[in-house]
């Protein structure tokens, strides 16, 4: 039992941390999210050059690591609130290819993801599906060895920057059946794909994505037709763990920022950090953070175990971190007082990101329910 990182993992952390510290300061980020494109393609190229986009892949796929590397990178992303699509492209699409892709698919796409030339978004959520991964109105009808895709995917993060989508669709069965779910790769420029792009409240870009009679060849299918749900659950659990890591990074900076502010801000002639009522709140924030770090480690460590163990621990982590993120975010704004309400301070952006993370890949309630289903015996 140990919680140490290998030398190589420490190098990953150092590399990404330096990049974000030096090139992703608060003012730069503000400029980036306000810009036309809303992200930094040149930073993505730099990440590729440093090998960071290869970090979670195995050696045979051209990488050098796994879930722990993804955790480290996303924790550092969280500290700087980097908006680039590491989770959609590398963790999600990369995950589908790693765990379900044919040799030909891996050769065709993983290299592109690692080099940064291909950027994927993960189109799984639907307007009426909430967090149920199998509740799909999007259909892919078999047509000989081909498929015809129709449907509407909701809030597809990073879609405006993507070259490709991974899309979940129903190939058979009723709308909420566990069976009959399949996973496809769809080029964004394929005929019949359209998007409505927008910004999100936490500084990212997303799209509503529409598929209208999009013709897909049989090669576009990842894994087995109709049996995609276990694969989707596994990849979404990996993405959830990576999102937990991002939250942990964001919470760390939120706490530090709040502590700093409490030292500087004076009221009644003394720093507000000298008031016990605020001290105890910050002690609670610290405890929530430490518990979150623990759950993030636990979820990451358990990702490769059997499905029930993996789900139980990922859900436990998402519950705990969702709750901690809400407490820390709200407490940070409260401690900053009126200044916390302005758009001038970084703390507001951390609060907003933490608030949105709460609902990503399943809310506290959703994961609580899944935890209950797996543990109440």
């Amino acid at each position: 039992m140990d919680f140490d990182f290998t030398d190589e993992q420490n190098m990953v952390r150092d590399g990404i941390s330096r990049l974000i510290r030096e090139q992703y300061d608060w003012d730069t980020r503000r400029g980036v999210i306000a810009s036309e494109s809303g992200w930094r393609p040149e930073l993505w190229a730099q990440l590729a050059e440093l090998g960071m986009l290869a970090a979670p892949f195995s050696e045979e796929d051209g990488g050098f690591g796994g879930a722990t590397e993804a955790m480290i990178i996303m924790e550092e992303f969280g500290k700087g609130l980097a908006v680039e699509p590491f989770i959609p492209s590398v963790v999600c699409a990369g995950g589908f290819l790693k765990h379900g892709g044919s040799t030909a698919q891996r050769e065709e796409y993983i290299g592109g993801i690692i080099s940064g030339e291909m950027i994927f978004a993960f189109a799984y959520a639907e307007p009426r599906g909430r967090y149920d991964l199998a509740n799909l109105e999007t259909t892919a009808k078999a047509d000989g060895s081909n498929y015809v895709l129709n449907g509407h995917k909701a809030v597809v993060i990073g879609a405006p920057w993507a070259t490709h989508f991974v899309v979940t669709a129903r190939t058979s069965g009723g709308q909420t059946d566990k069976d009959g779910v399949s996973v496809f790769i769809v080029a964004k420029d394929a005929q019949g794909v359209s998007t409505r792009d927008y910004a999100t409240v936490d500084g990212r870009r997303a799209s509503e994505v529409y598929f209208e009679n999009v013709k897909l060849s049989g090669d576009a299918l990842i894994g087995e037709a109709g049996n995609g749900l276990p694969l989707i659950e596994k990849v979404v659990d990996e993405a959830t763990a990576a999102t937990c890591a991002e939250a942990v990074g964001a919470m760390k900076v939120t706490n530090e920022t709040t502590l700093d502010y409490s030292r500087q801000r004076k009221q009644f002639g003394v720093p507000i950090g000298s008031f016990q009522v605020l001290q105890h709140r910050m002690a609670d924030m610290l405890m929530e953070y430490e518990q979150s770090v623990s759950m993030c480690y636990l979820a990451t460590i358990k990702l490769d175990e059997d499905a029930a163990t993996r789900k139980k621990n990922v859900s436990a982590a998402k519950v705990r971190i969702g709750q901690a993120g809400r407490f820390i975010g709200q407490s940070a704004i409260q401690t900053h007082g009126g200044m916390g309400m302005t758009d001038e301070l970084a703390v507001g952006s951390y609060f907003k990101r933490l608030s949105i993370i709460e609902g990503e890949f399943g809310s506290v309630d959703h994961h609580m329910r899944r935890h209950i289903a797996l543990t109440a015996a």
Partner: protein, 398 residues
């Protein structure tokens, strides 16, 4: 980063499990509602472990410790929790023992450490006073030097299980004029059979007599019973409190408690279905389990740090706060789960030797008293508010 135990650690687990299985006495009760257990029963396991050399695993080898790694000690506590054993009380092995071997002289070590290891000597803790709780340094019990003795006068309180104690360790004021209250305190060992000591039981809200007042009237104690230097007692007291807090998270016991709670919730019915299937109650159990997972990993991270040579630092305050919150919530949910049968007071049940008409399920009898009793956990060992002060000062640096 991994949570796997090594082959050696797995072998160790098998060894201690077998030892507990073969040696734990069958005929003693379980602690919880404590005044029901006799002194002999409470010491039974301690004495067996003393003979085996496992009663003080955390001590240095030269004083009779085991050389176990922090992970092995964790496994040890897990295996004991599995069997719900009555572990050695902390007052000797976890509190005064480390103070004696760290700050005591050779005579004191020779006199006291063997009895702590073997379980032959029962220790109690003379810290709190009616006017000195969280503000412990304001204590007033005085020790005045008189030739080769100290004369002690004052009153201690909340002295746990002092009714059984052979010896006590007392914080006394030896310099009332010191510039700061912390600077005039000494750490003195007292034979509880010394004339002038009166132990008066305090009845607690759970109906039991777990703690006492200890009155000291002209108690004459040899000056050789002073630990370390006169007026330096506060240093030793703080050292002891930090030791007391490590292991205070009680993760292994709480895990077992969650299993028991689930069994109760599976037997209790709501709308014709087991209570555990009710989404409202199931959510509370899952929340508890999740929080306990977080605490467990946090404790393991602390243990891994210890293994790498970092002593128990201020993060033990976090373990204390979160561990006690969970222990309390567990008893709270148990009382909630048993419904109406939380109300009957088992101490008033007719003692007619008949089990024909039982008063509710057995698991309900102690639910309320245990819930009442466990409110102590966020108060003792430095209240949870004091722990937050420690975190503020030592970790946040405010």
């Amino acid at each position: 980063m991994n949570l796997e135990f090594t082959e050696e650690e797995k072998a160790f687990r098998a060894e201690v499990r077998e030892f507990i299985e073969n040696n734990y006495p069958q005929n003693i009760g379980t602690r919880g509602v404590q005044d029901e257990m006799s002194r002999e029963d409470m010491l039974a396991w301690h004495k067996i472990l003393g003979k085996k050399g496992w009663s003080v695993p955390a001590w240095p080898k030269e004083y009779g410790g085991t050389d176990w790694t922090p992970t092995q000690r964790y496994i040890w506590s897990e295996e004991n929790a599995r069997k719900n054993t009555v572990m050695p009380l902390p007052f000797g092995v976890a509190m005064v023992g480390p103070v004696i071997y760290t700050f005591g002289n050779e005579e004191q070590k020779a006199q006291h450490l063997p009895g702590i290891r073997s379980g032959d000597v029962w220790w109690c803790q003379g810290y709190s006073e009616p006017g000195a709780g969280s503000d412990l340094a304001s204590l007033k019990t005085s020790a005045v030097r008189d030739g080769d003795d100290y004369i002690l006068n004052g009153q201690k309180t909340w002295t746990t299980l002092a009714q059984h104690a052979d010896w006590g360790f007392f914080l006394c004021r030896t310099d009332p004029d010191a510039p700061k209250p912390q600077m005039g305190i000494s750490f003195i060992l007292v034979d509880m059979n010394t004339p002038g000591i009166e132990v008066r039981p305090i009845k607690l809200i759970d109906g039991g007599y777990e703690v006492n007042e200890v009155w000291l009237t002209d108690v004459r104690v040899p000056a050789t019973n002073l630990i370390g230097e006169e007026n330096k007692g506060w240093t030793y007291a703080k050292f002891l409190l930090a030791h007391e807090r490590s292991g205070i998270a009680g993760v292994a016991r709480s895990k077992r408690g969650v299993e028991q709670l689930k069994e109760i919730a599976a037997s209790e019915m709501l709308d014709g279905k087991p209570l555990i299937e009710d989404m409202g109650f199931a959510t509370k159990i899952s929340q508890l389990e999740i929080d306990l997972s977080a605490l467990e990993i946090t404790e393991l991270r602390t243990l891994a740090g210890e293994q790498a040579g970092k002593g128990p630092g201020p993060e033990s305050s976090l373990l204390k706060v979160k561990g006690t919150e969970i222990q309390q919530r567990l008893t709270e949910l148990t009382l909630e789960a048993v419904g109406y049968y939380g109300a009957p007071d088992f101490r008033s049940f007719p003692d007619d030797g008949s089990n024909d008409f039982p008063i509710g399920p057995d698991y309900a009898h102690h639910a309320a008293p245990t819930y009442f009793n466990m409110r102590k956990t966020s108060i003792y060992g430095g209240s949870n508010e004091i722990q937050r002060n420690i975190i503020t000062k030592m970790i946040l640096g405010l």
